[in-house]
Every structure is written in structure tokens, then in C-alpha cells.
Symmetry: C2
Subunit: 445 residues, 2 copies
């Protein structure tokens, strides 16, 4: 490059793209003063040229021919904020092959084709940066890639979806039902009309696949993540958690194990009872946070906005400055080759659990249930029984009792065997929620 101007081609100009254009204009002089570089968005590819754009760029900067932006010899860096797997994948591949650094916020794409794109970036010797794809505005990917490159990381646990955290917060603090809290989130624009990607845990699943890949240097895709959403979390579960010193959070968890057969990984998304004093418990509303456990560094947490135009644009801008500096130096940041992931079978997992069941209220039933747990190696940490007229007994028939257990750390196999037997007992009307508990005694949630 022969001057200090960096010309950016922007693919997509929705909320994030528009926010980036205005943030970059506002910060242009400050960035130039600190880096000597003049970073300017000069071309923008959009799907529909007729839509009004809330941007101060001349209309000649806009095109609906995306490929022409990548091919333009005057464009130095590509920012992709269009979303979706195709055509983003092909476009980013073309840009990298043409030797142009790419910044992307596209979690779905990276969670499926990350390894291939990282390899293409390395082969071309250019940056592929993606801070905004995980935990939005929170600077987490760069610290993980760089600051913690030498750290023996054991586990990463994140509240990586703001919509579900908002819903769970409203259920906890305002006593809302799941349906009421979801409707509120939709009214506020936090949740889509079809909320499946959020409430089903799939959005968080894509993000933890990317995090696991970076943290453990392994090729983890979204399809490998064991995903459970929040749709079956009830007001009674929340109420039980509150009484017992927990907050229910949807956690995305990536973990590394030293199994006797070699190193194994796991990646999962599921609701978890988090002790109220744990830092993740205080992450409220639509905020995100990522909690890291390392052997040397101990516990870390990164907290902030996981979505929204301005926070996401802030993360994209950080990457854009980095890629621009690297381009001028002739350097690039490398993820390194990702090894195939050796996943630990879900049946090998273990955790403390909260179990809720409804049984016939007659003498001997509790003893029978407790002995099923004991016979199957499930050790009980605490137990409570609720009658139909009690706070947790609202949905019970007159002859029923609700029984809630918190178990000590239990293997998944033992737990599943226990649940099968409990469901077969005449005295057990139904087995309700089964939710992991984050506790000091366990190594995986």
C-alpha cells in the first residue's frame, strides 16, 4: 500500500453497517491521530438500492453488485455484516483469495465453515477477524486469541444470548411466566416474531462453537454442540431456584478434559442453576458475559452488550483498525490450524442437578423415590416437598405432592437410568424439570 488511506468495502448496510459508517466518521480523526491511518468506507453493497440509507455517504458509494466491491482494486479491506451462510461464504473466500483482509460479524458462517475460512486467510497471509461474531461488543475474541494464548484454559461459560437472558431476568425479578416475558422481549424488539434461534439455544450454540474452536485449537462446528433452550423453564423452576440461592441462566459451555484416552472436549448450551454469588448470576437483562477458568489466571469474566448496532459496530471497528495496521505492516494475525475435535460423549458428562417431580402424596412414596435415587448412585444434596396449597404447589391435584431434589455430582448415565425408573413408578405422576447446577464440587456444568 502506498499511502495512509485504508479504503473499506462494506457488505451489508443494516443496523450494524449504518452504525459502523457513522462511528467511523465520528472517530476518523482520533484514529488517524493514534495510528496514522485514514480509514474510510468508500463502497457499500446492499440488496435493495431503492431503500433509503441513514448514512452520509454519497449515493454513488452504494451498489447492489456485491462481487464488484470485492473485485474493486481500490478496496483494501472487506467488512461483511450481511449475515447468512451463502453468499457470505463465497464472497469472503473470494476476498481472502484476492489478498484482502476480512472483518465479519457472521457467527452462523464461522460456526459452520470457520476452519476452512481461517485456513484460506492463512494461505493468503491476510487477516480474518470476527470479534463481533461472539458476545457482540465485548472485546473477548482478541483477549482469548492473544492475551490467553499461553493460558491452560479449562472451561469457558457464557451468557451469549441477550434475548434469553432478558426473558430469564424478567421471570426471576418480575415473576413473569415464560410466555409473558417472551412477549415483553418481542415488544421491546429483543426477540424476533419467530424466537426459535434465541430461545431454542441455537444462537448461543453457534457462538460457543466458535469460542471452543479458538480456546482449544480444535474444529468445533455448531452441529457438534449439544443444545437445549429455555422454553421448558417454568415459573416454579425459577421460584425454586430463588428460594435456594440460585439464578437460572442459559449458559453456553465449552470445556476440556484430560480423559484417560487423551484430551476430549465438550460444547453445550443449556439452562443452569447458577449460585447467586457467582459473577454470572449478576448479569441481568439483555447483557452478555463470558466467564473463563484457567489454571494460571484463575477466574476471568468479560461483560457487556452482546448485540445492538452501536456495540457491534464498536467491535467491528476494533478489528478494522487492527486489520488496517496489519495491512500496512504486511503482517496478519493467525488462528493457526485447527485440529479435529475429539468430543466427549454426552453420556460421559457429570454435574449436580436439580430434579423436580410430582408424586402421589401417600406414606412411603418419598422413601421409594429416594431409594431409586440411592440405588442408582444419585446422591441427594437437598430435598424439599410442597403440598398443593403451598407456593410451589400451584399446579398440583389434591392428592399430589411436588418433590424437588438437588443432587450431588452425578454422571449422565446414572441420572438417565434413574429418570427412566422414576417415570415407570405408579406413584410418580410426572417428572418435571431436570436442570444442571453449577457447584463447587463439579468440573462441568
Amino acid at each position: 500500500m502506498n499511502d495512509s488511506t485504508v479504503r473499506v468495502g462494506l457488505l451489508g448496510c443494516g443496523t450494524v453497517g449504518s452504525a459502523l459508517i457513522s462511528l467511523l466518521q465520528r472517530q476518523h480523526d482520533a484514529i488517524a491521530a493514534r495510528t496514522g491511518l485514514h480509514i474510510e468506507v468508500t463502497r457499500v453493497a446492499v440488496r435493495d438500492l431503492s431503500r433509503p440509507r441513514p448514512s452520509s455517504l454519497p449515493s454513488s458509494a452504494f451498489t447492489d453488485d456485491t462481487a464488484s466491491v470485492i473485485a474493486d482494486p481500490d478496496i483494501d479491506v472487506i467488512v461483511e455484516v450481511m449475515g447468512g451462510v451463502e453468499p457470505a461464504r463465497a464472497l469472503i473466500g473470494n476476498a481472502l483469495n484476492a489478498g484482502k483482509p476480512v472483518i465479519t460479524a457472521n457467527k452462523a458462517l464461522l460456526a459452520e465453515h470457520g476452519a476452512e475460512l481461517f485456513a484460506a486467510a492463512d494461505a493468503a497471509g491476510v487477516d480474518l477477524l470476527f470479534e463481533a461474531a461472539v458476545a457482540g461488543g465485548i472485546p473477548f475474541v482478541r483477549p482469548l486469541r492473544e492475551s490467553l494464548l499461553g493460558e491452560p484454559i479449562r472451561r469457558v461459560m457464557g451468557i451469549m444470548n441477550g434475548t434469553t437472558n432478558y426473558i430469564l431476568t424478567r421471570m426471576t425479578e418480575a415473576g413473569a411466566s415464560y410466555g409473558e416475558a417472551l412477549a415483553e422481549a418481542q415488544a421491546l424488539g429483543y426477540a424476533e416474531a419467530d424466537p426459535t434461534a434465541d430461545v431454542g439455544g441455537f444462537d448461543a450454540g453457534a457462538k460457543i462453537a466458535i469460542v471452543a474452536s479458538i480456546a482449544f485449537g480444535a474444529k468445533v462446528t455448531a452441529a457438534m454442540v449439544d443444545v437445549e433452550g429455555i422454553t421448558s423453564v417454568t415459573a416454579d423452576d425459577i421460584s425454586f431456584a430463588t428460594r435456594n440461592g440460585y439464578v437460572i441462566k442459559l449458559l453456553a459451555v465449552a470445556e476440556r478434559f484430560d480423559a484417560s484416552t487423551g484430551e476430549q472436549l465438550s460444547a453445550a448450551v443449556h439452562p443452569v442453576l447458577v449460585p447467586v454469588h457467582h459473577p454470572l448470576a449478576s448479569v441481568r437483562d439483555s447483557f452478555n458475559a463470558v466467564f473463563v477458568e484457567g489454571d494460571a489466571v484463575g477466574e476471568l469474566m468479560f461483560y457487556g452488550r452482546g448485540a445492538g448496532g452501536d456495540p457491534t459496530a464498536s467491535a467491528v471497528l476494533g478489528d478494522l483498525i487492527d486489520a488496517s495496521i496489519n495491512l500496512h505492516r504486511g503482517a496478519h494475525a493467525s488462528i493457526g490450524a485447527l485440529a479435529p475435535a475429539r468430543l466427549r460423549p454426552a453420556a460421559d458428562s457429570a454435574s449436580a442437578h436439580y430434579l423436580s417431580l410430582v408424586a402421589v402424596d401417600r406414606p412411603g412414596v418419598l422413601a421409594a423415590i429416594a431409594s431409586v435415587l440411592g440405588d442408582n448412585g444419585v446422591s441427594i444434596a437437598s430435598m424439599s416437598q410442597s403440598a398443593p396449597d403451598s407456593d410451589l404447589g400451584g399446579s398440583l391435584a389434591e392428592d399430589e405432592a411436588r418433590i424437588d431434589f438437588i443432587t450431588h455430582r452425578t454422571g449422565r448415565r446414572d441420572l438417565d437410568a434413574t429418570l427412566t425408573i422414576l417415570r415407570s413408578l405408579d406413584a410418580v405422576r410426572r417428572v418435571g424439570s431436570v436442570i444442571s447446577v453449577l457447584s463447587d464440587e463439579e468440573d462441568d456444568a
Copy 2:
């Protein structure tokens, strides 16, 4: 450099140095696999060669001739963990001038001579990295320098001293007095026999000077920081805070203002009443956290261990890997030139405040006090009065009442004028604590 080995000269081999040696040995292969570099500590300068070293290095690696380590042509990178301003300053200067990158954990040095050393590093074209100097193991300096380089940062607030946070946590959660909590911290090794640097706020003051310099690109030294410690925080203050939904924290605050006369900065350390739902309120025990407010990114928080051998070594190792990669690329990270700091006069600051005073308990006194506040532009958000036999009245004489106010945002000048008048009133026996309150209505704490 003509091979992939990076030879490290270590200055100082106390808790952090020893932890670094063993962490590096443990992680050597993993780092080599990811970076292609073999990073090895090959020489260690210590003050007393006769002291036993808990390290697996050969005794020939140790020397008490510090200068010889820097001059050694086989040493590629210097890690300084000896502490103190001199001779560290001269040694680091020599290393930089010799073209050797330096990693330091030395907050006192950087808070006094940072600008000069950053300039020396830039002139020599090598890295001077210092992640461990601020907030210990928390990866915060790199995100601040790089990820947030383009972010319009308004304020950074940190719990940057673990000793004082431990003491305040014990006072809040166990009802300990300041003296009891300090003794406990000393017994646990969190506080020194002479705790002044911690409890007087000076340790946090050095750290916020460094943070302000990086965040705002200005030359802020420890001497410019307005420092107040926790020694006058009483059990009654803590009790008042708890009843009113606050937690008292020692915050280090760096802030930027658009004054009509141009941009101004402030840097201060003082106790603050933090609302219990604020993320900083949940930072307990000896943990640290840094809270960042930016116009685009919104609110961020970085949480973790601020001290200790292993966490600090983790931060040093992250820098060491970065410097090693840069050395092989022939690149370096630059802070850029720091401009002179334009400090806002402390008298121009404004905040909500908690005021506690003891007055004679007779009719008309409260009205007289309230009218002094009103006449001086101090608006009252809430007020409570305690009798000698009440929970907050323990230290009162029989004819006294304790009166606690929380004010709306008040300028420092108005507040000081008010306090002067209150102290002169016959009915006011004494003015007790005056502590800032972090509230939504204010821009500076």
C-alpha cells in the same frame, strides 16, 4: 532473528518470576504448536544468589549482575518483575535502547515514567508491554489499547486493589470493623504489615494513572491522581449503604469531559456508594474489575484476579508471547505519543453524595440543616434520622441524633461551602463521612 527460539532474560525471581518460569515450562509445547516459537527463560537476575529458588532452571542461569543479562547478546527479550522505580527504570531504558523488547509488571515505574519509557520503546522500534501492571491477571490493557482504540471512551472505573476490596467485603458481609477486617487481610497475606499503599489508595492511584494515559492518550502520572483511601470508612457507613441498596467500593476513576474550554481529564481514587445492582457491586473478596463506559460500545466490565503469582504470570506470559511474535515479524505495538494531560480542577467535579452528620436532637435543628443545604444549591434525594438507641445510633450521646443525607448531583464547590457552614453551626456536633454516590443522574463519581 535466525531461529525460532526466543531467549528470555528475567529480572527478579520472586513470586511472579517463579510462577512465570513454571508456567512457561508447562505451556512450552502448546505455545510452540500455536506460534512456532520456543520461548525459554535462559537467564535470571536476582538480588541474593544464596537464596534457594523454587525453579527447575540450572543454577548457572542465575546471576546477581542484572546489567549482564540485558547486555547478553543471546538474550532476545527482557521480563522485569523486580519492582521499584530504580534501578528498574534505568535497566528497562537500557534494554529498549539495545533493541530488546521489555515486558514489565511495574505499576509504580509506569505511573511515574511511563511516557518517557513508551517513547524510548517507539524510538527503538520494540515492544514495551505491561498487561500485568494494571489489574493483574485480567486481560484489560490489550483490549483497551487495541480493541477499543477507536471507541469514544467516556469513563473507566475500576476496583483495582484486591486488599481494600477484601476489607470492604468483610465489613459488608461479616459486619467486621475496619480494624478487624484489616487484621484478617493481614493474616491471610492480602495486606502488608504497613498497609498504607493499599488502604491509602496509592496502589490503585498508580494503576488508574496508567489506565488514564492509555484510554485518553495523555500523560497522566500518579502524582496527578486525587487519592482518598478507605481508612475513614466506618461500620456505620457500610450499614447505611446496605440499608439503602448500595455497596461501598474503593473505585479508581478516569474520566474525560468536553469542557467549554476544550477536553479535560480527571483521575481519582475514592470510596463510592455503588448501587447494589451495578456490576461493580458484585465484585467480592480480593477480586478486581474494570468497568468501561463508551459512547458506542456502552458498558463493559473485565473481572478477575488483580494479584497473585500465577494470575500475574499469566498476564506476563500473554505479553511475552505477543512480544516474541512481533520480534519475529519485525513489528511492534505502539502506544503513540502521549499528549500533556489537561486536568479538570477537582473543584469543578460533581456527584451525588452521601453525607453523615451528628447534631443536637432538638426541634428545628433538622430544618436549619436542610435549609443550609438548600441555600447552597445542594438538593436532597433522601434523608434519614437515627436516635441513640437505633442501629445506626451506637456512637451517639443521649441528646444527639445522626442525620444521613443522599444528595442529588452536586458540584464540589457547593458541597464544600455547605460543609463549612454546617461545621460552624452550634447544633452540629460533627460532620462524619462524605462519600460519592454512583447514580444514574450523574456523569462522574
